[in-house]
């Protein structure tokens, strides 16, 4: 034990020291000196334009909102599992918050948003190592455009996205993956799947395969995040097999109010997610905000109606599932459509997800514990396609909008971007899962799964029964 502490202390000082050594002078000049006149921006010969304070105010908030989504997701998922596994779900979400951030700071951000490396497959991991060279008071050039907020704020905002993406996946194999396997898997997945895809779509000058140049529309990460996570989820489900007792022996959600709380937090946080993706407090943010809300509401409402017609009783789990599906689907479209488009996208998300979750899943018989593929994957795919349908004029290739304004090409580009993401995510996730299985084994023992992961993986129980 004490050995470890000494090691930790020493490495801490070294790290601090090295951080010092590598760090350029603080980008923020001491009070009294005008910002940005004496410091030469590190990674670019150009002088970065000053940041906009109103944009910064909004992006600070938006980043906080996106961070808040991960606890929200934890409760959305945690409420749906059984009592004996709720902590394992919460723990995995918090592990994402911890581990992903650490990786992001060291080289994850650099992998996603550094200069093109390996032919644009990924960013240069050394460029922003330890976030050096990313300014606290200076803007940053991303894929050829300057942010209007300081680079570090952009990095923090993106960090929140990187946290929630692997967290989304965990719903698929909830109640049946060992924590050690989970930890390794998300670390690898972040580096091998998330960072490259983020780089292609947002970070590269042109992008591997020219995704950026093509003009694929993805406002807030429908493809990078939801399709990506949804596909990885499906692969994980197939690789790992079913939970013991699935489908007849699984108790219903142990605490639906928690799931509702989580849904509320997600809806709230999603405003930061989508409207924050505008990068500032301008027209894009307003548009994203408005259509996000409309799509979520429409999809939740529509899900209730479908259940009402089909089963005679609309359910709480249904309305929140619908709302989340709507939020997912509007994500890539949120900067490009109007209220009518949002209504349609929400409605479509609800219909397609419902069919998958309530009809096809039972047919296919796979055990996607919390319907990550059915909700995030399917609604994400629909959203990416729908962006190519409903985009209004002024956006899309040459500003021609989507299919409804006659721009068929846009739809093709959307499919292309989806295809690359699906293929890479499926392939790489599969390999990573097999690799982690070799290293530590994916599933707990039969006994551990029966007793529940809270106790066997974390030595805790969520609620006292007798006290």
């Amino acid at each position: 034990m004490f050995r470890w502490l000494i090691v930790a202390c020493v490495s801490m000082l070294l790290l601090g020291g090295s951080a010092r050594a590598e760090s350029d002078p603080p980008t923020g000049a001491p009070a009294g000196t005008a910002v940005g006149d004496s410091t030469t921006p590190p990674a670019s010969a150009e002088v970065p334009p000053p940041f906009d304070k109103a944009d910064t105010a909004w992006m600070l908030m938006a980043s906080a909102l996106v961070l808040f989504m991960t606890p929200g997701l934890a409760f959305f998922y945690g409420g749906l599992v059984r009592r004996k596994n709720v902590l394992s779900v919460l723990m995995q979400c918090f592990m994402c918050m911890g581990l992903v951030t650490v990786i992001w700071v060291f080289f994850g951000f650099s992998l996603a948003f550094g200069g093109d490396t390996a032919g644009g497959f990924i960013g240069d991991p050394g460029q922003y190592f330890l976030l050096n060279g990313v300014g606290f008071g200076t803007t940053m050039k991303v894929a050829g455009t300057w942010t209007t907020v300081p680079g570090q704020l952009f990095a923090a905002f993106q960090c929140m996205f990187a946290i929630i993406t692997p967290a989304l996946i965990l719903g698929a194999f909830a109640e049946r993956m060992k924590f050690s396997a989970f930890t390794l898997f998300i670390a690898f997945w972040l580096i091998v799947v998330y960072c490259p895809v983020a780089h292609w779509v947002w970070g590269g000058a042109e992008g591997f395969f020219g995704l950026g140049k093509d003009g694929a529309l993805d406002f807030a990460g429908g493809t990078v995040i939801h399709v990506n996570a949804g596909v990885a989820a499906l692969v994980a489900v197939l690789v790992m097999g079913k939970r013991q007792g699935y489908p007849t022996r699984i108790s219903p959600p142990h605490n639906l109010p928690f799931a509702v709380l989580g849904a509320g937090m997600l809806w709230f946080g999603w405003f930061g997610f989508n409207a924050g993706s505008a990068g500032g407090a301008g027209e894009g943010a307003v548009r994203a905000f408005a259509v996000t809300h409309i799509a979520a509401a429409t999809a939740g409402f529509a899900w209730s109606l479908i259940e009402w017609m089909r089963n005679g009783r609309p359910t709480v789990l249904g309305i929140i599932t619908g709302a989340v599906a709507g939020l997912v689907a509007i994500t890539p479209a949120s900067g490009y459509v109007d209220a009518g488009g949002a209504l349609c996208i929400g409605l479509g998300a609800c219909i397609f997800s419902f069919i998958f979750v309530a009809v096809l899943k039972e047919k296919f018989g796979y055990d996607d514990s919390l319907d990550v593929f059915g909700v995030h994957g399917i609604a994400g795919l629909w959203g990416a396609i729908a962006t190519g349908i409903f985009a209004v004029e002024g956006f899309g290739i040459d500003g021609k909008g989507g299919l409804l304004t006659g721009n068929i090409a846009q739809l093709g580009v959307q499919f292309k971007a989806l295809l690359y993401t699906v293929v890479w995510s499926a392939f790489a996730s599969f390999v990573l899962l097999k690799f982690v299985d070799m290293l530590v084994g994916l599933r707990p023992t039969e006994h551990d799964e029966r007793v529940g992961l809270d106790l066997t993986d974390h030595a805790e129980t969520a609620y006292t029964l007798v006290e």
């Binding site: 489908p247 219903p252 959600p253 259940e307 359910t315 789990l317 599932t321 979750v357 309530a358 039972e362």
Partner: protein, 113 residues
Amino acid sequence: MKYVIAVIQPDRLNDVLDELEKAEVHLVTAVQIMGRGRQKGIAEVYRGHKEAGSLLRKVKIEVAVNDSFLQPTIDAITKGARTGHIGDGKIFVLDMEQCIRIRTGETGSVAIG
């Protein structure tokens, strides 16, 4: 001495307690249970998946009484719990050999009340 176990509808608990009180049976324990009875439960639905949903929430109460109090106790419970609908529940009577009051160590009939 008898040990009386009754399974009742949750919303009748207060009535049963009141009736027992009137019958001078003050001491009782109550616990929430799930019961499967003739009253058919409503199938629960989760994302389109229907649960058998055969278990319904009930309350179980237990009272230890002296033999002379047995019939009044049964009557009180019946009176408080009966609605005439399926699902009203059951009363089970078991024989009890001994009763001890922990505080004083008293045993037998005197320890019951």
